[in-house]
């Protein structure tokens, strides 16, 4: 018994030592070294391209710097300057207007497209590919096509079709009230294929049994869509609305290629203005501060969407 008791004690002691050893940092590092190796590329990428960039961005936002000269610390001057910047206010208003005109329409149009191409008809793969084509087309090519469509004279393509239904020709990109809607139209056309694919994935993951059960209960096509498809697409909807909103906040290509932010700043978005500040006026500090404000706005928008659309991890 005694012997057994001693041996048990020793065993316990050895066990505790073993546990302590296992808890030691060195042991854990050695044990998990191979795993760190696996995640190292991602960690490094994150450190260099995200974390460092972020820290540097914050640092720059507190300085006056034109990329070539010495950086001068200016405190929060770049932030207070924004309060009196009329062009920044205009860019912000334009960005919000674009988000309102873009996000919901592109979600609806692409859902409609996805529903159409989700049918099992011959040649449907071709249609899917065709609708997706603008997504993989260069913005320069898209801009050429749309500059053609939006020629501001009666012989312009869009104006021609409008005239056929009795609508007077418009000066699309030249009219400050129509320039941003014109760009939005182009953006919806060029990105709807991407969202269509996302919707399609969502549609195809809805279990067929649910439709069968609803049909047995007498549901028609609209009822199937309203009470089965739409609720089951909730995670996809939230995802699409979020990424479309974030993308809309960052819109840059169309004003760069088509309008140069004009006419009279009518299509100057936040990102376009930030680019102009940085590389047109060489105000890197002010551009950095504006970028941080843009980030905060995107964050707030995402948090609001999370709260009111019931987003949570489990949805994904």
């Amino acid at each position: 018994m005694v012997m057994h008791g001693v041996s048990t004690q020793r065993w316990h002691l050895a066990g505790r030592r073993e546990t302590a050893h296992r808890r030691s940092l060195g042991y854990r590092l050695r044990k998990s070294a191979s795993w760190y190796l696996f995640i190292a590329p991602n960690v490094l990428t994150f450190l260099v391209f995200t974390l460092f960039s972020w820290v540097f961005l914050i640092y720059l936002s507190l300085h006056d710097w034109n990329l070539l000269g010495a950086k001068q610390f200016v405190g929060v001057q770049n932030y207070t300057r924004m309060l009196s910047d009329k062009i920044l206010a205009k860019a912000l208003a334009n960005t919000f207007a674009y988000i309102l005109m873009f996000v919901v329409p592109v979600a609806c149009v692409s859902l409609g497209l996805a529903t159409l191409v989700n049918t099992r008809l011959r040649g449907m793969y071709l249609f899917r590919a065709l609708f997706y084509l603008p997504v993989v087309t260069s913005i320069a090519v898209i801009a050429i096509i749309w500059r053609f469509i939006l020629i501001p004279r009666p012989d312009g393509i869009l104006n021609y079709f409008l005239r056929q239904v009795g609508i007077a020709p418009k000066e699309w990109l030249l009219d400050p009230h129509l320039a941003m809607p014109s760009i939005t139209m182009m953006q919806i056309w060029s990105t709807m294929g991407y969202y269509m694919v996302l919707w399609l994935a969502g549609l195809q993951s809805v279990p067929e049994e649910l439709y069968e059960a609803a049909r047995i209960d007498g549901a028609g096509r609209w009822a199937l869509f309203r009470y089965v498809t739409v609720p089951m697409l909730r995670p996809t909807t939230i995802f699409i609305v979020m990424i479309a909103t974030i993308g809309a906040f960052q819109m840059f290509g169309p004003p760069y290629m088509l309008t140069g932010g004009g006419p009279m700043y009518a299509t100057t978005t936040m990102v376009y203005y930030i680019w102009q500040l940085a590389f047109g006026r060489y105000l890197m500090g002010y551009a950095s501060a504006s970028s941080i404000v843009l980030f905060v706005l995107i964050l707030i928008a995402s948090l609001i969407q999370r709260k009111y659309m019931g987003w949570s991890e489990s949805l994904f």
Partner: protein
């Protein structure tokens, strides 16, 4: 193609003889510096002008001109220089295939003269060139030498980035520059760039359309009154006169403003002068062009470069415009290539109170913290020699900025004439080299407001003046502080 006339053996012997003699003399002396080498070449060329001239004329194609020049150079190039190092060079494309047509031949020739210097060439796209250059510098990754335009002079000058070239390049080479260019290369009394090509834009006119609208096809417009009349006559027959862009700061603002007798900035760079009578007249001219339908409306918006890249229709090439878009000398060859039946003439530099035109220059700039400054200097001196400038201009169709390089400029007759008729009118001053981007970005929205009828000319100019003056004041305040 070649005219069929071949260079004779006697002529080759004459070149080789003259060159060989000088090479022997050069070899007897101390190892010459690159400047000396250049002078030797120039002297030979000067000594046998008829031979060189003949070879250039006989051999029409650029490649053959190069071969001829190599014959001369091989003979006169002294013993390989001891200068060594790697020169990082940033250039931007001027043709469809710069690597094969420009840089491989030039590099091969440079290698013969400086075997210990390695040239590392980076051919970058034009898009985003300013961003690339600035970020590379900020990251300490800038090249030793880069192709730079004079519109970046104030930025580079303010930040003391480029090495002054006054002591690097001999004074006689500076004196050899064409026209009134040097003011545009100066920063606080030092010359920071050396031109490699001349930029002098202009217009062509369509002779057939001139006849159709009742104009003498041999009499192009000259004065602003002519231009206004041409605009009205073109419009009456359903044609555009030319195209215009509110963001084309150089051709569509500075040039007409100078012609109206104004300037954007005062000489001492403290005052913006956009509320002058000349500025008023210029913006009114722009407004008339758009509001009378003399130019396509779409030019009112869109950044100049990007908008032209995505322009839906080329009204000039399709025969719907009496004058071409404003263009470089290669607009002549492009027109011949794209519209074979279009018979064109050359429009002289427009005249209002003055007959003048914004000149520009694509330049070489040498960065101060070069890792191989001696090698970079050697490359620069070699590259700006008349033969190289002539060759570069022959391929790119741009005129060489050195007078002595014109004998090597084997451009076709059209681009040559295009440049010749405007050469004496080209100017550069503070407007061409300072606050270029800032001016463009700040004023274009106001110009748009005026041409689209959202503001009066005076309102637009007054707002542009206020915004731009603030930028200039900030810049001056910072400079005083530093």
């Amino acid at each position: 193609m070649a005219s069929g006339k071949r260079i004779t053996r006697r002529q080759v012997l004459r070149i080789a003889g003259a060159a060989g003699g000088t090479a022997a003399l050069a070899a007897c002396g101390a190892t010459p510096t690159p400047q000396v080498v250049e002078k030797v070449v120039t002297q030979i060329v000067a000594a046998t002008p008829e031979v060189v001239k003949e070879t250039v004329v006989v051999q029409q194609t650029v490649e053959k001109v190069v071969q001829q020049t190599v014959v001369v150079e091989k003979a006169v190039t002294p013993a390989p220089s001891d200068i060594s190092g790697q020169v990082r060079l940033w250039v931007f494309p001027m043709t469809d295939n710069d690597q094969d047509t420009i840089w491989t031949p030039l590099n091969n020739r440079f290698k013969q003269a400086y075997p210990k210097i390695e040239v590392s060439l980076e051919l970058l796209p034009w898009a985003g060139r300013r961003e690339k250059m600035l970020t590379a510098y900020a990251a300490g990754q800038q090249p030793d030498i880069a192709y730079v335009n004079t519109d970046t002079l104030s930025l580079f000058g303010t930040n003391d980035v480029l090495a002054p070239l006054d002591d690097v390049i001999p004074s006689e080479v500076w004196d050899d520059l064409q026209g009134n260019l040097q003011a545009g290369l100066m920063w606080e009394g030092k010359r920071l760039m050396f031109p490699t090509l001349l930029i002098g834009t202009g217009y062509l006119y369509n002779k057939k359309l001139f006849s159709e609208i009742g104009w003498d096809p041999e009499k192009p417009p000259l004065t602003w009154d002519d231009i206004r009349k041409l605009g009205a006559d073109s419009k009456a027959k359903g044609y555009f006169m030319t195209s215009w862009n509110t963001t084309n700061w150089g051709d569509n603002w500075i040039t007409p403003l100078w012609q109206a007798g104004g300037n954007v900035y005062s000489k001492d760079l403290t005052k913006v002068q956009l509320t002058s009578d000349a500025a008023h007249e210029t913006l009114q001219f722009m407004v008339d062009l758009f509001q009378n339908g003399w130019v396509p409306k779409e030019g009112a918006v869109g950044t100049e470069q990007e908008a032209s890249a995505v322009a839906p229709t080329n009204y000039w090439i399709t025969g719907k415009q009496t004058l071409s878009d404003v263009g470089n000398p290669n607009i002549t060859t492009n027109t011949r290539a794209q519209a074979k039946d279009l018979e064109f003439g050359f429009v002289p530099v427009w005249k209002n109170k003055r007959q003048t035109q914004l000149g520009g220059a694509g330049c070489w700039g040498m960065f101060k913290n070069s890792k191989a400054p001696k090698a970079a200097e050697a490359w620069l001196l070699w590259m700006i020699a008349p033969e190289q400038q002539g060759f570069y201009g022959s391929v790119t169709k741009f005129a060489p900025p050195r007078k002595s390089a014109w004998q090597y400029w084997a451009a076709e007759a059209d681009p040559k004439k295009f440049v010749e008729i405007r050469l004496q009118y080209l100017e550069m001053n503070q407007d061409s080299s300072y606050f270029w981007q800032e001016g463009k970005i700040t004023c274009a929205p106001q110009f748009q407001a005026a041409v689209l009828g959202m503001k009066t000319v005076d309102q637009a100019l007054s707002d542009a003046q206020t915004d731009l003056q603030k930028i200039v004041d900030d810049w001056n305040a910072k400079r005083k502080k530093s």
